[in-house]
Structure formats: C-alpha cells, structure tokens
C-alpha cells in the first residue's frame, strides 16, 4: 500500500505549516528573547510566564481561546474583519497564528538562554570598538548565539510538526488546506485503515529523524570547531 494523494497533501501542509511558523517565530521571538535577556523590568516574569503557558496548558484549551479570539466576534478576528481581511478560523493563516502561540516557548527560551550566556562583556568590548547597539546585536549577539538559533529552530519546527489539539480546534480538518499529518493519521485509525496510518506515521517518523540528524550533525561540527 502507498500514500494516497490526500496523505501527500497532508504531509505537504504539515511541512509548510512548520516552516512558515518557525520563520515567523524566529522573526517575532528573536527581539522578544533579546529583550527578555537584557531587560531589568521588575514585571518581566509576567511576560515570561505568559510565553511559557503553552508548555503546561492542554492544547485544546489554547486552541479554544484562539478559536474564540480569531472568530469574527473575537479581538483578533474582529480587527482583521475591520481591516477588511478574510476570516482566519479554519484557514491556513489561522493555523500559523495558532502554531506561533503554541510553539513560542520552544523558540523564545533557547534564544533567551543563548543571549544571556553571551554575557555583557563581548557587547561592552564591541561598544568600545565603536559598534552601535544595532551593530552589536547583529555582529556579536546573533553570531555568538548561533547554537541557540539552531536549537530554537529545530524545537519550533518539531513541535509544530507534532501539533494536534490546537489544529483540530482552530483549523478543522479541511483536506488540502488545514488537514495536517497528525490529524490524517487519526482519521485513518478511526476508519480502521491501519496500513495507511502506518505509511503516513512512518513517513513522518523518518522525515523528523532525518531532519534532526542533519541539524544535530551540523550543530556538533559547529561546537567542535569552536570549543
């Protein structure tokens, strides 16, 4: 037995969702992690707690609130509607928004740790060498936090790949648009199509494993080259 066209589409949607979400997370999470690693604000821990919420919250709870807020009467949905955008619920964009919240801690925390471990000194040195704050961030902080970026990307990607509850709540199960592999597998099992479920699950397993091998291999070379 081989993968059906619908299974392949689900695989494609899953990879696309994980890639786009990881990209968005890096763009949003990097400045956030930088701010968290530098800020002396006394209520910083509130932000940290909010970011960490998806770690302990059942995905269905997160999904439910997201569904409500991106619905036409919710704050995000209402805003999009007022700006003339299309509704987000049960769309790919809605899934990306959900994944970004869901995987946020897996990207922000490694980045925050990486930035913190650089310490103040290299940045002070760069300042005495005439580098402006922005310059210091891109030429010192980012390259020195490279292992953190690799970890953050892998975790963000992998965590989105395994997403189930949130997707089910806000994306529904529309083949070709919001049906991801984890849900397709669930459907196969529900329909007692164990063979199909095996093929799909196996593909995802192989793919994830391959990806992790490549990334950790690269990470190891990087660490060995810079003891």
């Amino acid at each position: 037995m081989i993968l059906t066209e619908q299974d392949l589409t689900a695989l494609f949607v899953t990879l696309k969702l994980a890639s786009v979400s990881t990209l968005v997370l890096l763009v949003v999470g990097t400045p956030l992690a930088w701010w968290l690693s530098k800020s002396q604000w006394r209520f910083k821990y509130l932000i940290e707690a909010i970011i960490a919420l998806p770690l302990i919250l059942p995905p269905t709870v997160l999904g439910f609130y997201l569904l409500v807020s991106i619905g036409p009467n919710g704050p995000i949905g209402g805003l999009v509607d007022a700006l003339g955008g299309a509704p987000l619920a049960f769309t790919f964009t809605g899934l990306v928004i959900g994944s970004v919240f869901y995987s946020m801690p897996f990207v922000v925390q490694p980045l925050q740790n990486a930035f913190s471990s650089i310490g103040q000194r290299p940045l002070e040195v760069a300042a005495t060498l005439r580098a402006s704050p922005m310059d210091r961030f891109f030429t010192i902080a980012v390259p020195m936090a490279k292992p953190g970026f690799i970890t953050a990307s892998v975790l963000g990607f992998a965590h989105t790949l395994g997403e189930f509850g949130v997707v089910l709540m806000i994306g529904g199960n529309i083949p070709g648009s919001t049906q991801v592999v984890s849900i397709a597998i669930y459907d196969h099992v529900e329909a007692l199509e164990y063979g199909q479920a095996h093929w799909l699950a196996g593909s995802l397993l192989a793919l994830s494993f391959l990806m992790l091998i490549v990334v950790y291999g690269a990470n190891r070379r990087y660490t060995v080259a810079q003891p």
């Binding site: 040195v125 760069a126 005495t128 060498l129 005439r130 580098a131 010192i140 810079q226 003891p227």
Partner: protein
Amino acid sequence: MSIEVRFGIKRGEFSLTIDTEIPEHGVTAIFGASGSGKTTLLRAIAGLEAPENGFLKVGGVVWQDTNTFLPTHERKIGYVFQEPSLFQHLNVQDNINYGMARSKRDNTERSLDEAISLLGIEHLLKRMPSQLSGGEQQRVAIVRALVTDPSMLLLDEPLAALGDEQKAEILPYLESVYQQLDIPVLYVSHSRNEVARLADHILLLDKGTITAYGKVTDIFTSLDLPLAHQAHAETIIDTTVISYDAEFGLATLKFSGGQFVVASNPLESQTNVRLQILARDVSVTLEHQKDTSILNIFPVTIDHLVKESSSQMTLRLLAGKTPLLARVTCRSAQSLNLKIGDMVYAQVKTVALLR
C-alpha cells in the same frame, strides 16, 4: 589640554567621588587596593557606567555633563579589559578589523602594520582566539584597541589575569607601546611593580576617593603616603645614559642629584633608563667611605624621617632635588644622631634597571 574628570557614583555601600585633571600625555596609573573604585572610574570614563553626577571633558570636548552623555561607541577610546576578551567567533585578523572598520581615520595601513609588529603578533593573524595563550590574546586585544585611532587608551589591569611568565612576556610590549604613543594612557593596577615600571603619574585611590596624585617618583617616596612605609618601599629614579664601559660592563647614568654606575647590558648613550632602588638597600654614613666596594655613594640631606616600628626607621633623603628612601635601624639612627637637615652620605648597594 587635559582630561577633566568629576564623578559621583553610588552603588549600594560603595561610593566613588572623583574630581581631578589628568595630563594629556604620559601614562597615569590608577593605583589602589581591590574595591577602591579603580575599575569603576575607568568604566565611567569609557561610558560603560553612567554616574549619577558626572562631568567629563577630553581635549576640549565634553563627553558628559548634566545634559550630555556620549554613548561608549561614540567616545574615541581604546579599552583593554582585565581578562582577554577577543570575540571568540572571529579570528585574530577579524577581531582587529572589527574596531578598525568602524573608526574613521587616515593612514590606517601604516599604523596597523606598526601596531602588529610592535606587539609581535604577525604570526597569529589567521588563528582563532581559542588557539592563543592568555598573553597572546591580550597582545591582540591591545592592537585591536590601538588601531581604532583612540584619543585616550584605557587599560583595566590587562596583566592581572595572566601568570608571572606571561606578565614578563607582555610588559616589554606595553613599555614600547607607551613610548610610541602621544595620547594619554590610563592604567588601572594594584601591582606596584607594574606601576613602577610603566607609569609616569599615579592617581592613588582609596575607598572611592583620590588620596594622592602626582609623579611616580614623588608618590613612591612621600612619607605622608603608605607606599613609602611598605616593607618593599622603593625609590624610582629616571636617568639618562652618558657612557658605557664595555670592559667592566658598567653604565654611567646621569640624574639631577649626580651619577649612578650600574652593571648592565650595553646601553646606547642618551637613552632614558628608569632605576629602582629598594629602601633597605640604602644605608647612610657620616663620612664619605673610601675603602668600600659600593660604587654609588651620594652626598644627601635628610629631608624627613619616620619611625616604622621599634626597630626600623625610614629616611627620605635628597640628592640634589631627587628623593631617595633609606631604611635603617632605629639604633643606628640614634648612634649616628640623625636629624632632619643633616648632611650625610647615602650608600646604594643594589640598583635595578626597570626599563
């Protein structure tokens, strides 16, 4: 032209109050025990600390006052930190280029080559920082600071994190850097040896306040200050070579109070040489001794004397206008009946060449 510094800094229990002017030329050592505020002062000058009350004017330009705070990256400084702090993700060449590329300047190539050969790091340029020893890393860090064309060089105990061997390796490089530069150098240190070798002026810091400020030669020999009372009290004398006797390997050195004859390697005439004489290597006699092996004997006046303990006494002697410390026993002082204003002879047993 000079550097005007006025800072008031409070950090919990610690407070630093500075109000002084530092000369535009030469090496000024900021000297004091740990916790006296040396590093804080240097960081405040670099803009790495923001004092609550501060005024800083360098060569006519205000870097800080009530309304102005020039951020560190806009201050024309070279800063060398205590521990080697090269960027670990860049090789030596790129570390040096980092600051050079960001500072606007002329004749870059020439001074780059000069700095690289001055610190002897030609063979290290392609290496990563992790492949260098601590001493080598500090030499690179000094080059990196020099080639940004600073109008002031700040060094925060650049040798403190190094072992004795590496210190000995790097000191000659620092000496030649200082001799070549015509910008002020502020050198934080708690090692009197380094200060004796490298500094022209000393700013003595204790618990966040300046207790003395002046020429190294004066501060080391002032009986009102703690340095002259330490067990290893010493006199620093700057001299000029007038001749060298190759047969006996002796150099004749001139200073304002006379001439020293010192065993040394061959020295060029007219070179400047700094001498170090420990107070305990100087004795006094009432008559000029003729039948002695001691080469350096000067007529001196007793300028000041202070009892250190029941047995020991420190004398401040003047050879011409040059002060010289002597450590004698109280019994000798009593039997010779030494008093301020007496004319005696100082016998200097051992003289060390510092540079």
